[in-house]
Symmetry: C2
């Protein structure tokens, strides 16, 4: 019950309800593996179970928890199920959830150093930690000319990198005069849709985005990139931005950074590297080759909210030259002026991102890094990759299934040998079973299943059961067809 004179939740009720909710979440974690991963609901079904109007009088928290159980949970896709193998993972963990809780409880704004110094300094600090942990180029550290910042997503990181590149190539004129249609950007045909979205938002126009061909491993062909840049220059256009991907969405394809980097270096083109999911693998020395050539990058990002046990949103974004980013995004109205900012001795993260306000997201990353230690994180990354490689070996040894491509890390792409329509129907039956969840890709025109292994609690048993289910349903489907 709320304090009747104030309607607020009293500290006592907050303690009691908070404990109940923590227990509810712990229970959820324990049972989520037994829930159907993908909900069997029709569009509008959830809304139909909710009252048409907001309550005039406040309700008891018990009523909210009842609706959570009855209306909301049956309508969720359970991303934290160990049987979730769709898209890329978006995993979380105990320490991360608690870090988010603390951030909400403190309720501070980190838009500038002065609006909460600890929020800014802890963020800079853990991003420097991560430069060391992932063995990223020293230029990304805040004690060099660069530095790191937490963005909501890799989409926003790409947009910020593109704006910085656009400004740099126009000598900071496009912020004033606008775009003129001459600026060109490049990425591979396998890159994330956020590159196209950023090009559109930034006013460059997607006609000025070149989708560079890929090779058999779905990696960008650097010689094609070089040729397109040359062609564009000859046509009087201004090549400004290349987005290379470490771990593409469809297949985890790895663009060749050393070759691409050298081209960007020679051509003086901004190189942004998007390692949203795969970057986490660099915690382990044996997988660090995915970042070979990163010393050429002007900016880089990876998402602890995908595969590093830190709940969404938490994209870590670094630049080698922070002045280029800040100059592109800074605006200082009078009401934000303050001594610390004028001194130049502090970082004001509002100038590193699109929005002004920002919450204290570094807390959850700090909690995760301290709880697991580098050792604990490496343990799980190695485990996920080993599970994926083992799954791939089963596919490879199978008479019925076939690998679409050799999996570099924790994502296995494959299809049934009976063809696209069979694979598509199998996919539907698998997801309809509720016992796992997969998404698909089209590779060289073929319908491809994607098995992404990275949920916090996915263990060998879940992968084994998934493989058994695939084999069983494929047999069933083949028999039904015959």
């Amino acid at each position: 019950m709320s304090d009747e004179t104030s309607y607020h939740m009293t500290p006592e009720e907050f303690r009691r309800r908070g404990r109940e909710l923590v227990d509810w979440i712990a229970d959820y974690q324990e049972r989520v593996g037994s829930l159907p991963v993908f909900p069997q609901v029709q569009p509008g079904e959830i809304r139909a179970a909710l009252p048409a109007r907001a309550p005039e009088q406040g309700e008891d928290f018990d009523a909210v928890l009842r609706d959570l159980e009855k209306v909301i949970v049956p309508g969720l896709t359970h991303w934290q199920s160990p049987n979730f193998f769709g898209f890329f993972p978006s995993n979380n963990s105990g320490p991360s959830i608690l870090g988010e809780l603390l951030s909400a409880g403190l309720g501070v704004q980190g838009m500038m150093w002065a609006t909460s110094p600890a929020a800014t300094e802890l963020e800079t600090h853990v991003l420097d930690w991560l430069v060391d942990l992932l063995d990223l180029p020293a230029a990304f550290r805040s004690d060099s000319d660069g530095g790191g910042v937490i963005q909501d997503t890799a989409s926003s990181a790409t947009l910020c990198a593109l704006i910085a590149a656009r400004e740099q190539v126009t000598d900071f004129a496009s912020n004033d005069g606008g775009c003129d249609g001459s600026i060109v950007a490049y990425t591979s045909s396998q890159a994330h849709s956020s590159v196209e979205k950023a090009i559109k938002i930034a006013g460059l126009g997607c006609n000025n985005l070149r989708l560079i061909d890929v090779d058999d491993s779905f990696a960008m062909r650097p010689e094609v990139l070089a040729q397109r840049i040359e062609d564009d220059r000859e046509a009087g256009l201004v090549p400004a931005f290349v987005c290379a991907t470490v771990g593409t969405t469809a297949t985890n394809g790895l663009d060749p950074l050393p070759e691409i980097g050298r081209i960007c270096d020679e051509e003086d083109v901004w190189l942004h590297v998007d390692a949203a999911m795969a970057g986490t693998a660099a915690l382990c020395p044996e997988f660090r080759s995915i970042h070979d050539g990163l010393e050429f990058a002007d900016s880089y990002c990876f998402n602890p909210h995908k595969w590093m046990f830190t709940n969404f949103d938490c994209d870590c974004f670094w630049v080698a030259d922070r002045a280029a980013l800040i100059n592109a995004l800074t605006i200082l109205p009078e009401y934000l002026r303050n001594e610390a900012t004028e001194s130049g001795a502090v970082i004001d993260y509002r100038d590193w991102q699109v929005p002004l306000g920002r919450r204290f997201r570094a807390l959850k990353l700090w909690f995760v890094l301290r709880h697991y230690g580098a050792e604990g994180l490496r343990f799980h990354i190695r485990r996920h990759i080993a599970l994926a490689q083992e799954f791939a070996s089963w596919v490879d040894a199978s008479d019925d299934f076939e690998l679409a491509v050799q999996p570099p890390l924790n994502l296995v792409c494959f299809w049934h040998r009976a063809g696209d329509e069979f694979t598509r129907q199998l996919h539907q039956r698998l997801n309809a079973s509720g016992r796992l969840y997969l998404t698909h890709a089209m590779l060289n025109g073929r319908y491809t299943l994607r098995m992404a292994i990275g949920q916090t609690h996915t263990e060998a048993e879940h992968v084994e059961r998934a493989w058994q289910l695939m084999s069983d349903l494929a047999t069933e489907l083949a028999e039904g067809d015959s």
Copy 2:
């Protein structure tokens, strides 16, 4: 301790640590009023207290909580202190914190209906609730041609509205061909810096942003707007976007929406209305006149994360024609294709925002609306406004202080009659006391103090003590100078 074989936090430890942290937050809420609002730390001081490298082995949660207390808390600006009167409020509440906790615990992705149907449907539902609660135009409801979405901030809402306007005015050509420097946008000289930032990001160039003069109440002068639009058309430019403000940052100035709306309507220019802080007042019928003329708006936003007890981030953004927004921001790569999307029967919120991923932010809004009920929310909004009006009456009756402008709602702008330098010094002493926190504005060239009243637990006693402190320190300062 973590599970030694897995490094994960066990469910038992999560329960125990979760309870501890809930208690820590409840304790924080109880003591925050007695902490110095603004921290006395030097740049770099917090980082210096943290180890230079991330831990190799995981640490005990107790060690993290110790550092939280010792290193982090002394470096925070306490936005949740009842003595925080700076900027605009960014308040939170028990139910909201619990909603955020639940969102982190569930860890679902709401980028499309299919990635977690309940996340999308609850969001649409509570945004429809809010249309009714604030008595916004019915065109914003999802059962009309419009609809609402949660953005991180009003900055992002403005950017999305601008992109939609840019696309609409170019007949959806600028996404393809880029901008050509002819598109013009308008806002008042008192508008938020995010408008300029959006213009830059969207590639229009800030030379194409017209800052329209304001009247004595710091509201946009519609006749000047009309003239600038006419001038621009005569110069062959393309007027495309007007951002009007309900509650400007410096003074809570209210742009005259009926007049601006009629101009936009006649000129076929997109009207976006930014009511980030003030919009919440419309919960109360007696303050709804701030939205008179909103029926002309193409888009509108307000931030429950400012003044509606919902922790950051939570900006509610509506459009009257969702197709205009979606057409501007949609991209559908193969890996996101799914039956529900193809059916057209569902909302995919990824097409309503810049990023792709999104967390389940509707939960905290739902928790807040159900806990307080409309009645409880109105109670607090009325209370805050009454406190501000009472404070203003003290200023008005004072021989030493003077109102800069009549305060329309919960923000009082004033200065000391002894002049700018005196007011500036008084401001510094007030903030250095740690007993309250104020920020400033420059109004007609004068250094102005801003007293924004909206923190959840600000009561009459806090406002009274603030006024007493201002009077005392002003006397002290005057005596020291004589």
